[in-house]
């Protein structure tokens, strides 16, 4: 791939189709006997996406490797019998209902960090948070596995940093000062080692809570906090917009 950036200025690879050989990576991953977790939320009307997400992810996400799916939902009754691949497991975790959409998205980080501490850290080595309203059409494999991974948003990968959707109001914990910013990362797909994801979700949640105390709400909620975190704790690997392509584009 000569047309795109495949390495960040801090030497983290940016994963695009054509840059890697999945067979080599599979061989390396298999040697280490790892378990990867996927965390996703299906709250309120989002229960509708469960079937589509789970059947495609079960088929295409790290196929052939052990994956634990953690599905947070306020509608556990809506889970029809989902057939899981033999290496995969599905854990349905019921959660409280929130009145506002904002409220729902804001507490994701808090929920994830809490569950990592109490449960996930003992069950998985790597953990990825993926939006439920996506369907996988192609294999997503072990090329995504690294210590701290962010995905470049398909909306903003060409814009200049001044025009990216960073939070700019300095009163918010998610604020990114003018003249700074590497990429705009999407909150729809991020992850890494369970320890790093814990640090990330905890830091973002603290930012969210602090903002709430100060009566401010970041422009793109969780995603604004994520972007600030990943500016000062740079990812060790980036996924190209191929990995989270918004159909609306």
């Amino acid at each position: 791939r000569r047309d795109v950036l495949v390495l960040t200025p801090w030497l983290a690879p940016i994963v695009w189709e054509g840059t890697f050989n999945r067979d080599i990576l599979n061989a390396q991953y298999k040697q280490k006997n790892l378990v990867t977790g996927v965390v996703t939320f299906a709250l309120k009307t989002y229960w509708f996406f469960i079937e589509g997400f789970m059947s495609s992810a079960n088929k295409y996400f790290l196929a052939g490797h052990q994956v634990n799916f953690y599905l947070f939902t306020d509608n556990p009754e809506h889970i029809s019998h989902l057939q899981m691949a033999p290496e995969n497991q599905l854990f349905v975790i019921p959660v409280w209902n929130h009145s506002q959409w904002q409220d729902i998205s804001i507490s994701h980080m808090g929920i994830i960090s809490r569950y990592i501490r109490s449960q996930f850290q003992y069950e998985v080595d790597y953990l990825y948070s993926i939006d439920i309203n996506v369907q996988l059409f192609e294999h997503i494999g072990v090329e995504i596995i690294d210590t701290l991974v962010g995905t470049i948003s398909s909306w903003q990968y060409t814009t200049r940093r001044e025009r990216k959707s960073y939070e700019t109001r300095t009163e918010s914990q998610a604020a990114i000062p003018k003249g700074e910013g590497d990429f705009y990362y999407t909150a729809g797909f991020y992850g890494g080692s369970v320890a790093e994801v814990y640090k990330l979700t905890r830091a973002c949640f603290k930012g969210v809570m602090k903002d709430r105390e100060n009566g401010i709400e970041a422009r793109w909620h969780d995603e604004s906090h994520l972007n600030r975190y990943l500016l000062y704790h740079k990812p060790t690997r980036l996924l190209s917009p191929e990995y989270y392509w918004d159909e609306e584009l």
Binding site: R2, D3, V4, L5, V6, L7, T8, P9, W10, L11, A12, P13, I14, V15, T19, F20, N21, I24, L25, Q28, E143, I152, Y157, T158, R160, R161, P177, G179, E180, G181, D182, F183, L231, Y232, H233, K234, R237, S240
Partner: protein, 321 residues
């Protein structure tokens, strides 16, 4: 059944049980905590700085070329970790004449602003010149015995480095680079080179198909690499990484070297062949471009923007005698 006719071997049948049974206590790995606030040009997703060369391996390890990294960003993240970088270099027999120039140039260009320990392995400690070092940097002379042939000397490096890590440096350094002494630094060599397992592409073979790589091609050797396989041809003059990884890797290479000895065969390019064999099955986590391992006798091609570390012209016949 001596593989090479002219070369005579010292019989050495048993691996060193003393080293191989040691359990080392390494200092805890220092990981990057934070990238401090810094102002720099925005990276552009559709505008890669280097379009003329491969900058990522198929197993997603970076290949470090000028233009692919920002030293300021890397320094800002690595300097606060208070790392100590070790360097091993072997100056045996007449090779001690290279030490002065090597160290002087390293003081100018190698890991500036970091703590550095130079470990100079030599059979002739009195001939090592006293070089003025910057603060935070020191050099240690490691006496070793001299073997009769230059090939033997070259191949014993793996064992010597391994032994030295076990006895000394595993507690003293975080990262270790093993470099040839008959070389000089011409440009910056910084934290862009740090990684778990680091290898460098040989300057003579970065532009040729792998069928032409001088891998060991005899299947009776433990360094054998069959036709149609191989990623790169790595140079034996530069390798490194976390001290723990260098320990494992030098041990593995020494074992395969001993295996060949027991079978009366010597690999085509001595320990470089074994290094290549090892890196084929245990791929490096970072690869350095030939900027980091150049040969001054070669004309500089357009892909090489900067020569950082290169050979010193010498008369091989005279010096290896």
């Amino acid at each position: 059944i001596l593989g090479n006719g002219k070369v005579h071997y010292l019989p050495y049948y048993l691996p060193c049980p003393k080293i191989f049974s040691m359990k080392l206590q390494y200092t805890e790995e220092k990981l990057i905590q934070l990238f401090p606030q810094l102002f720099y040009q925005q990276p552009r997703v559709l505008a890669p700085k280097r379009q003329d060369v491969l900058t990522v391996t198929p197993w997603l390890a970076p290949i470090v070329w000028e233009g692919t990294f920002n030293s300021e960003i890397l320094d800002s993240a690595y300097r606060p970790l208070n790392l100590t970088i070790g360097v091993t270099a072997f100056a045996i027999g007449k090779y001690t004449r290279f030490v002065g120039h090597f160290l002087e140039s390293a003081e100018k260009h190698f890991m500036k602003g970091y703590r550095v320990n130079y470990y100079i392995f030599t059979d002739n400690p009195e001939t090592i010149p006293d070089v003025q070092l910057q603060p935070g940097r020191r050099f240690v002379v490691v006496p070793i015995k001299k073997y009769p042939s230059w090939q033997e000397i070259s191949m014993r490096r793996m064992e010597a480095i391994n032994k030295h890590i076990a006895e000394t440096s595993h507690q003293e350094v975080d990262y270790l680079f093993c470099l040839d002494i008959d070389m000089v630094f011409y440009n910056a060599w910084g934290p862009e080179t740090l990684g778990d397992i680091v290898a460098a592409i040989h300057p003579g073979y970065f532009n040729v198909p792998r069928s032409q790589f001088p891998y060991e091609r005899r299947s009776s050797s433990a360094a054998y690499i069959p036709d149609g396989t191989g990623d790169f041809y790595y140079g034996g003059a530069v390798f490194g990484g976390l001290v723990k990884k260098v320990y494992e890797f030098t041990k593995a290479c020494h074992m395969t070297i001993l295996t060949d000895k027991a079978n009366g065969i010597m690999a085509a390019w001595q320990e470089e062949s074994h290094l290549n064999r090892h890196f084929l099955s245990h791929k490096p986590s970072k690869v350095l471009s030939p900027e980091y391992l150049w040969d001054d006798r070669k004309p500089k091609p357009p892909e090489i923007h900067l020569i950082r570390f290169s050979t010193v012209a010498k008369n091989y016949k005279e010096i290896r005698n």
